[in-house]
Symmetry: C2
Subunit: 296 residues, 2 copies
């Protein structure tokens, strides 16, 4: 099977097109890497880039992007609504195919060490790559943002970075980590009563007692109640379990599912897991998919 890693670096520039395109150019310059998406938000003053490729190429591309952003972005001048602490703010590696989470953790550590050593940027490992439990959650790592960290990193030993100097320059600090792929998934109900969507969202989401890797909101979209979700680890909380739970909760209100939608991209394995469940497919290997055999 072809080895594929996704990387979704976030850069602290959402206005200046020339700077964004120079950073994207640095990411795309590495052979074996494809930039699938660039989303720049002016209010957040932030750009989110999605790139994929083989692990070695993606790791090198991430380094090139961080190096370029450090030269082009001055965090002392940066303002924006989104919390941030560095020119390259976060760099998550995501295993897609033929690669384990452990491989991505190793990539994060190796890249972090290199960024600290070669670029003198403080690096914090987060999520699956975290070196201690209190650094798993990105929001905890980024507390105080650039301005706060600048002071604390020199005075508070809890803020000592995993790699690089205990001092922040104009490029700020960078969080590098590994996480499962995120799936944006919405379910539409045959009702315009948004209260039902909100009640179902509360039932399925982790924060109010539901499934561990589900974030959910109830919305009204074009006259239909919608349960809008982020599935943050489809391997541990698979899509079919979420759908069947919504189906059961909806029945309690006398409504049914009309349709669902995947927003953006989804790994094939997430779809295959649903097929396995509904068709009760035992012992099915993705090697049996003709396209995968051809790609070998």
């Amino acid at each position: 099977m072809k080895r594929i890693v996704e990387c979704v670096p976030n850069f602290s520039e959402g206005h200046r097109k020339d700077i964004i395109s120079q950073i994207v150019g640095a990411l795309a310059s590495v052979e074996g890497v494809r930039v699938l998406d660039v989303q720049s938000d002016a209010d957040h003053n932030r750009s989110v880039v999605t790139l994929v490729g083989d692990p070695e190429a993606v790791e090198e591309a991430a380094f090139q992007g961080i190096e370029r952003a450090a030269r082009l972005i001055d965090m002392d001048q940066h303002q924006g609504e989104h919390p941030r602490m560095g020119a390259t703010d976060v760099v998550p590696f995501v295993p897609i195919a033929g690669v384990t989470m452990a491989d991505c953790v190793e990539m994060a550590r190796r890249l972090g060490e290199r960024v600290g050593r070669e670029l003198a940027i403080p690096v914090y490992l987060y999520e699956e790559a975290a070196s201690r439990p209190e650094r798993r959650n990105l929001a905890d790592v980024r507390r105080g943002e650039y301005e706060g960290l600048k002071v604390e990193i020199e005075t508070d030993s809890h803020r000592t970075p995993d790699f690089g100097p205990a001092g922040v320059g104009k490029a700020g600090a960078t969080a590098i980590g590994a996480r499962p792929p995120l799936v944006a998934f919405n379910v539409y109900l045959n009702t315009d009563d948004v209260a039902i969507a909100k009640a179902i969202a509360r039932a399925v989401r982790h924060s109010s007692g539901g499934l561990r890797y589900v974030k959910a909101l109830g919305l009204l979209v074009e006259g239909r109640a919608q349960v809008s979700m982020n599935l943050t680890d489809h391997r541990q909380t698979p899509i079919h379990r979420v759908v069947e739970m919504i189906r059961r909760e909806a029945a309690r209100y006398g409504v049914t599912i009309v349709s669902s939608e995947v927003v953006g991209l989804i790994p094939n394995e997430a779809l295959l897991d649903a097929t396995r469940f509904y068709l009760q497919l035992d012992d099915f290997s993705s090697d049996q998919i003709l396209e995968n055999r051809l790609a070998e």
Copy 2:
């Protein structure tokens, strides 16, 4: 999306390994083609090869295989249980990805013309590529086999080939066509009563009033009743419809589905259709599968 065609040529040699490997070598010699499987049966005295690749490469490989088999196999010497009429007996093209059935029909016609012209082998177009209704069914095309055709092709205008001479040499004649991919799919029931599997097979299969593109048998496999099927066109009779029909029929006998299995390879689209159905995924495009975007 990457364009992929499958081709499953059948050759009239199942014993002599050197001849089989020369033919497979000719097929595999074309760049862009992968030989996925070779099954040789001594009783049938026949080998079935599965190859895949981009359309141009697969068409060229099929020609090379036919040419080599014509030089190595003498049909006057051939004996075997399986019906046959040529050294290369049948050559079906199967659309897998990024290719339509019409494209495969065109491949069959172009290859047939070339085989008739360059190799002086009579060619009959069959299934989706057939030039007349009575040639769609391979069994009708092959009636009388090599020995019968040798006489009839010169005397009976109904046997005039689509391409090539109205006369049979030692390489015999070849059927070239296009068909949908075939999926071998079995469903296990929580009973050892094979009569139930047989009754369900009768209900779902085309020949006794069931679904158009389903062939089915009831078997007892390792103590479990099994509905054993060939799905001959999963695009028109999708897997989920077959499974749900079996589920409903099984309920009538008080039994349930324990598991199912895909034997061999399956196109990803067949699995994706099941996911679409069960998750009620509207407007989902296979472009949203990360792996497909990368392969673009």
